[in-house]
């Protein structure tokens, strides 16, 4: 664990009977970073977040925040703020009262409740009962709760869920500003384009296990699609296939994946094949995600 590591998961496993929801999951986060947490439905993202905040007990492994488990944090709400799947609101309470009760339980002043309501754009709705809130407003309330303790680590499970395009943009800018203040943010989202715009790194899990991690550029570069037009497409296709590329031929044009443009150029040169066109079309995060998860769907 390095000096600025805020969150560290080490071999975290969670089994529900015979089902392994999280499988030997290990990763860490440093201060000021935003980590996109992706995976298909039921891949174990929410369970992982619940394990981190102590709502679910790991069968094996450990999740540490600043070197200690959540339950042993001296001041948990000022260390971690979270939007976790399954954590709801009291419909009969006014927004300000729901926050004030939470604040009162941990000795935070009511003034801070007003501040976070303002931060999430709910000042005008402070006196309204949460039960009458739209999905987007409830998401903003969840964010208000997460920010209540001004924490250094934010765990956000689908924070943009239910928000309109302006709201999604607002969340993106808010999270960027929070990260710029030095906070670490672990964010899961089914809006992969948003994750691509927001996250520094991405962690993709499937069946509870890590299948890819790295920067978005690293994740997408491995799946770049190349368009190759040559003087001898049949022979070039054979050369490329032998060297591990996936090749689809249509007349003189080859569509190639699994190999870099530099490698294609070198192989063509070695074989004495003239290239008339070599173009790389970068796949986006969604395509990379679908390929990694074998089209299992997006959560």
């Amino acid at each position: 664990m390095t000096a600025n590591t805020v969150l560290e998961l080490d071999g975290v496993t969670k089994q529900f009977g015979s089902l392994t929801a999280v499988d030997n999951l290990s990763f860490s986060m440093r201060s000021g970073s935003i980590l996109g947490f992706l995976g298909p439905n039921g891949s174990g993202k929410s369970t992982t977040m619940r394990i981190i905040v102590g709502l679910t007990t790991a069968t094996k492994g450990r999740a540490l925040i600043n070197g200690v488990p959540y339950r042993k944090l001296a001041d948990p709400i000022r260390t971690v703020g979270a939007i976790v799947d399954g954590v709801g609101h009291t419909p009969g309470l006014r927004a300000i009262d729901e926050l004030a009760i939470a604040a009162k339980s941990v000795g935070i002043a009511r003034q801070r409740c007003e501040e976070v309501l303002d931060t999430v754009g709910l000042t005008a709705a402070a006196g309204r009962r949460v039960g009458g809130f739209s999905l987007g407003m409830r998401q903003r309330m969840g964010l208000a709760h997460a920010l209540l303790g001004d924490p250094e680590l934010l765990l956000l499970d689908e924070p943009a869920n239910g928000l309109d395009p302006q709201g999604i943009q607002w969340v993106r800018e808010l999270l960027r500003s929070l990260a710029a203040e030095g906070r670490a943010i672990l964010v899961s989202s089914h809006l992969l384009s948003e994750v691509a715009k927001l996250a520094d790194d991405v962690l993709v899990i499937r069946h509870g296990a890590v299948i890819a991690k790295g920067t978005i550029a690293e994740l997408t570069s491995g799946t770049a699609r190349l368009t190759v037009v040559s003087s001898d497409p049949a022979r070039l296709a054979e050369r490329l296939s032998v060297n591990g590329a996936a090749v689809v031929r249509a007349d003189n044009t080859l569509t190639v994946t699994g190999i870099t443009a530099e490698q294609v150029g070198q192989l063509a040169f070695d074989a004495g094949i003239a290239l008339q066109q070599l173009a790389s079309s970068q796949t986006d995060l969604e395509e990379a995600f679908l390929e990694l998860t074998q089209g299992e769907g997006i959560r």
């Binding site: 619940r50 709502l55 007990t57 971690v80 609101h89 939470a102 009162k104 339980s105």
Partner: protein, 250 residues
């Protein structure tokens, strides 16, 4: 103390608490009117010390209200999913449970005061208010009632922690208290008086109330035994509640 204050606020801010408290006031008021106006069981109401004690017993008779308020302090959180946030704010689940127990017990005390006010108001309306006859039996009832109600509230919190489901907790408690134990009382009266709510009835039964129990119905356990038995149920269920709350995922 912050945590207890937050739990008290949750109870106070709940509209269900207000509705249940008003229902409790109604139950106590009806009980007082029955004791004062009906001569069948307790004889003509003369405002004697034993009769005043039996009026205080009416407050204890509304134990189901404080028990349900106690249970709702947890089941409402499970129902709305707010228990997760509560445990994120305070990871010590034992501390959260303790705060809920304290807040629910305090509600039981407040309910006792509301009950006493209801009794006094009902007697005033009926033109029977005379506090001159208050004696040892009434004073004993005034001491026993809040203690019994606090234990009922604690039992409610424990039931809520074990069952979690709001519907199951409320419906199950009502069915068990008023149907199952009553039926067992009908067929096995000697056994029934050892059951939780029959024992609690024994805690709240003054001599006047016991004297009014018709033939064929189980006589409650003596107050000391009844208190010990009910306390045993409370402690046992609380131990299960603490264990489940600490180790079960939420």
């Amino acid at each position: 103390m912050q945590l207890i204050a937050a739990e008290i606020t949750k109870i106070v801010k709940s509209r269900t608490t207000l509705v249940l408290t008003l229902l409790g006031v109604l139950l106590i008021g009806v009980g007082v009117v029955f004791v004062v106006t009906d001569d069948t069981f307790t004889g003509a109401f003369l405002g004697t010390d034993p009769q005043l004690a039996s009026l205080v017993d009416q407050i204890g008779g509304a134990y189901i209200i404080v028990l349900i308020v106690g249970a709702l302090s947890l089941t409402t959180e499970f129902r709305h999913g707010t228990i997760g946030r509560t445990f994120m704010l305070t990871p010590s689940r034992t501390a959260v449970l303790s705060a809920k127990l304290a807040a629910s017990a305090l509600y039981a005390l407040v309910f006792t005061v509301v009950g006493i006010i209801t009794v006094v108001l009902a007697l005033t309306v009926l033109g029977e208010l005379s506090l001159a006859a208050i004696g040892s039996q009434t004073l004993r009832a005034l001491v026993i009632t809040p203690i019994g109600l606090m234990l009922a509230a604690i039992l409610g919190v424990a039931v809520g922690a074990v069952v979690r489901s709001q519907v199951l907790t409320v419906a199950g408690t009502l069915i068990y208290a008023f149907l199952v134990e009553t039926l067992i009382g009908q067929f096995f009266p000697a056994v029934a008086r050892w059951l939780p709510f029959q024992a609690l009835g024994g805690v709240f039964s003054s001599p006047q109330t016991r004297a009014a129990i018709p033939d064929g119905f189980a006589m409650p356990l003596p107050i000391g035994t009844a208190s010990a038995i009910f306390l045993t149920y409370v402690v046992a269920l609380l131990a299960i509640a603490v264990t489940l709350l600490r180790f079960r995922d939420v």
